[in-house]
Amino acid sequence: MLSKLDQQQYTKRMNNRIRKNSVLQSVFFLSALFGLFVLAILIIRVVTQGFGWIDMDFLTGRLSTDPERAGIMGAILGTLWVMIVVIPVTMIVGVGTAIYLELYAKKGKFQASIQTNISNLAGVPSIVYGLLGLTVFVRLMDLGNVVLAGGLTLSLLVLPILIVAAQEAIRAVPSHLAEASYGMGATKWQTIQRVILPAALPSILTGSILSLSRAIGETAPLTVLGIPALLIPFPNGFFDTFTALPMQIYYWTLDSSLVAEYANLAAATIIVLLVLLFVLNSVAIFIRNKFQHRY
């Protein structure tokens, strides 16, 4: 067998195999870098194009058709208002659903079908959620294209992500903690409330921040809802019409053919959006590192 293989042939083959390994190792490494390379180009381009346009006036100003005067405070506030809707809605519904599925639902067909349903929902294109929001929130519930409608639409969109994250967080709480609580005569809800949820909270928070950042960056569903292209007053309630950062980027990109500077405004807005996302993600990572339990 092997020892009977022609020694020369064996050596040649071994050389070959080892060379292949090291060549491909470099290829793999370059592949891993490729994504980062694109990321770098993307960021450099956006920053060089938009950075000069970012100043206090831009950040705090009102929207305008005049690029020199235009500010994105309205879009920032719109995005914040939407977040104020998305956070509690997704947290309550998402965590509630996760608790139900993990701790209350009997393992069976019903539970399995909800689970399947959730993973299907996670794969539904965001634009379809836009249509759902348009039909249900804007039209049937007659909210119009206001913060609440946008927020609820985006909440439904990211809900599956959060549910799955919360389920994993709950599952990761070791059963011996729950047992300890039951062993003291605690009821199920007491155990969930006092032991399981606190232990799962950091991971749940991380998951919800990540799904929130997904919601913030979404454009497609909002285009379907019909967000106005020009909206100067700041939104200050759930029932105000609004515009959001990605929508502003979208419209400015489209109109850059009419006013060249709009492209710079779009880039500047992208920077703001990326910074916002970066901050959110850092918070998520911070929470994850800071509160990670050792059980």
Partner: protein
């Protein structure tokens, strides 16, 4: 009459609207993307200088899509249109009991554009334009044997836009466009497409040409009396570019105007001030008399 009108608005703060009280609420406008630059400019000026507590929201779904939102229960207050309202739309309005008022806001010159490097087709007759877009000729050389033996690439805004309809109905007289025409939803895309294709020829509103003179070149059109280039001076329903000139409108939901003071006030503002901002947003103003007549018609609503 641009200068005069400008004076008007500046004093407008005190005089024209001095009597009217502080208004609140919002005005919802949707419709043509072509008219959007003018309407958004007007809306902004109105909110800054006239009624800071009124929110004018301008969207841009396109003329037809906009009419669908306009002609609906709880529909929009105004619909910008780059073509006149159609009979079906009128019928729908009647059906819903919506009284519609047409306000002509400006004049647009349909502009035929080519790539800046196109040094042959700088002038075309109206018939040649038709031939190109109907597909009667497919190569430049078929128009003029000295021109390149290359396929002509045609571009235009898609059917969502009033510009298309104007081109199809008024210029091509309802003959079908060449099959392989590249129709786009977004003007930015169109501009880019034409600016990067030497054999491109496209059509869109004057405003889009005006803002992209560095990327595309307008073709002078010969309507029989020598080539005319579109410009704020030539565009006009009586002017030399009249054949390619079309009015752009906004349609007012009169019911809403009667119910909501801010809608009425804004309608009035449009009629009074549209001419002041037409030029800078790529439109030619309408004649002053016509503008005045519209103001009076709106005032008569009260």
């Amino acid at each position: 009459g641009g200068e005069e009108a400008a004076d008007n608005t500046e004093s407008g703060d005190t005089s024209a609207d001095g009597a009217s009280e502080e208004l609140e609420g919002n005005v919802v406008i949707d419709g043509s993307g072509t008219v959007y630059p003018l309407m958004s400019r007007l809306a902004e000026e109105y909110m800054i200088n006239e009624q800071p507590n009124v929110s004018v929201e301008v969207s841009r779904a396109g003329t037809s899509a906009g009419f669908e939102k306009f002609l609906a229960e709880d529909g929009t207050d105004f619909n910008d249109a780059s073509r006149p309202i159609k009979d079906e739309e009128k019928a729908k309005a009647d059906e819903l009991g919506i009284e519609v008022m047409e306000i002509k806001v400006a004049l647009d010159g349909l502009t035929i554009v080519v790539n800046p490097e196109n040094d042959w087709a700088t002038e075309l007759t109206a018939e040649q334009v038709n031939d190109i877009f109907l597909g009667n000729v497919t190569k430049w050389s078929e128009i003029n044997s000295e021109w390149p033996d290359e396929k002509i690439q045609t571009y235009g805004p898609n059917e969502n836009h009033g510009t298309y309809e104007f081109f199809y109905e008024n210029i091509l007289e309802e003959q079908d466009l060449v099959g392989d025409i590249n129709l786009q939803q977004e003007y930015s895309t169109l501009v880019t497409l034409v600016s990067e294709d030497v054999n491109a020829i496209g059509f869109f509103g004057f405003g889009y040409y005006d803002s992209n003179k560095d990327k595309v070149k307008a073709v002078g059109i010969d309507f029989g009396e020598g080539p005319v280039e579109p410009s704020l001076d030539t565009i006009g329903e009586e002017g030399p570019y009249a054949n390619y000139t079309r009015p752009v409108f906004t349609y007012l939901n009169v019911n809403n105007a009667k119910e909501k003071a801010q809608v009425y006030d804004y309608a009035l503002y449009i009629a009074e001030s549209a001419n002041d901002f037409a030029g800078e947003t790529g439109f030619a103003p309408i004649p002053d008399e016509e503008a005045q007549a519209q103001v009076e018609a709106i005032e008569a609503l009260q």
